[in-house]
């Protein structure tokens, strides 16, 4: 299965999104990373790198991010990752909550990384009303 990494400025938000997505796909490997190592709201490339590496055994890793530096820190983390891991990682350009739920379901069906990423990104167009 494709593993999911949720990156948020807030550790509790990252954990909450993971919890929500896991409810529909309990077997999908997921890591939540949020906040700085000293407990502020923010992002830390090092913590993101560690979270991705934790899931390096998966059949690909999709990273879902909230705003601003979450993206910049994730891209920075990738730059310092061994190439064999970096090659397995994709970033999702979609909403982090709906995208994580959609990606989790897709991954639980055994779909490849490209399909899981597409599902996360398609969540941007889902209408609620």
């Amino acid at each position: 299965m494709v593993g999911l990494v949720i990156v948020s400025h807030s550790a509790s938000l990252a954990r909450g999104i993971k919890e929500l997505a896991s409810q529909m796909a309990p077997k999908v490997p997921m890591a939540a990373v949020g906040g700085t190592s000293d407990g502020r709201l923010g992002t830390d490339a090092n913590l993101i790198k560690q979270a991705i590496e934790q899931l390096a055994h998966c059949n690909g890793v999709l990273v879902l991010m909230d705003l601003g530096s979450a993206v910049l820190s994730t891209e920075t983390a990738l730059e310092y990752m061994p190439l064999e891991i970096e090659d397995k990682v994709q970033l999702a350009d979609g909403p982090v909550v709906e995208g994580a739920v959609a990606a989790a379901v897709e991954s639980s069906l055994g779909k490849p990384l490209a399909a899981v990423k597409a599902a996360a990104e398609a969540a941007a167009a889902l209408k609620k009303l």
Partner: protein, 212 residues
């Protein structure tokens, strides 16, 4: 200019001190058009740098710069972390294992820093970011060096250009970063990141001026 590694380290410490002294000011600027943490973020990062630098007494210039970059990337917390972190890393990679820096290295390092920031943040001039201070500064530095000025003089021209760049950010709408969520309400406020770039360049210039 002939800047030794030990002087480079002192220069970075001087930058850290100015960031610490301007922590409240930078945070205040960020409270107007962002999430009120730019000064706090930068001070956290440079505090970690201050602790790290003494362990690098025997390192070459490139290693010092790269280590500063790695430290900022993992301690700042906001967008300025990966941005300035990438800037220092790219400057360090470009400069490499030198024991002494010349004016040409200052030029190469700052160009690499600017390119790193633009690549990482996907920002262009006019987006109301660090780039609006750094790009004109890098251009002014290059022009002055080409005209035969000393490193200190050229950095002086860069500081003036960065200061004008900060002023320019007051009149434009943010298209990158937190401030972009504010749309037109970002008008009339100077960009915090452009301001920290100006402060860093000014500190570097003052450091060079003191030793010549």
């Amino acid at each position: 200019m002939g800047l030794t590694v030990s002087e480079l380290t002192d220069m970075i410490q001087a930058v850290g001190k100015v960031i610490e002294d301007n922590k409240a000011f930078l945070t205040e600027l960020d409270s107007a058009i962002g999430d009120a943490d730019h000064g706090i973020n930068m001070a956290k990062g440079f505090h970690a740098v201050k602790e790290k630098l003494p362990t690098l007494a025997d390192a070459d210039a490139g290693t010092v710069l790269k280590t500063v970059g790695m430290t900022l990337v993992s301690t700042v917390g906001g967008a300025s972390g990966p941005l300035y972190g990438t800037a220092f890393l790219r400057a360090g990679m470009k400069i490499g294992n030198k024991e002494e820096l010349l004016a040409v290295d200052l030029d190469l390092g700052l160009v690499a820093a600017l390119e790193g920031i633009k690549q990482r943040g996907r920002a262009e001039p006019g987006d109301k970011t660090i780039v609006d201070a750094l790009q004109p500064a890098v251009m002014a530095l290059k022009e002055s060096l080409n005209a035969g000025k000393t490193a200190t003089e050229a950095l002086g021209a860069a500081v003036t250009a960065a200061e004008d760049g900060v002023e320019y950010t007051k009149g434009i709408i943010a298209r990158k970063g937190r401030a972009s969520y504010l749309g037109e309400r970002s008008l009339g406020h100077q960009d915090p990141g452009a301001t920290s770039t100006y402060l860093m360049l000014r500190t570097m210039q003052e450091f060079l001026a003191r030793r010549t």
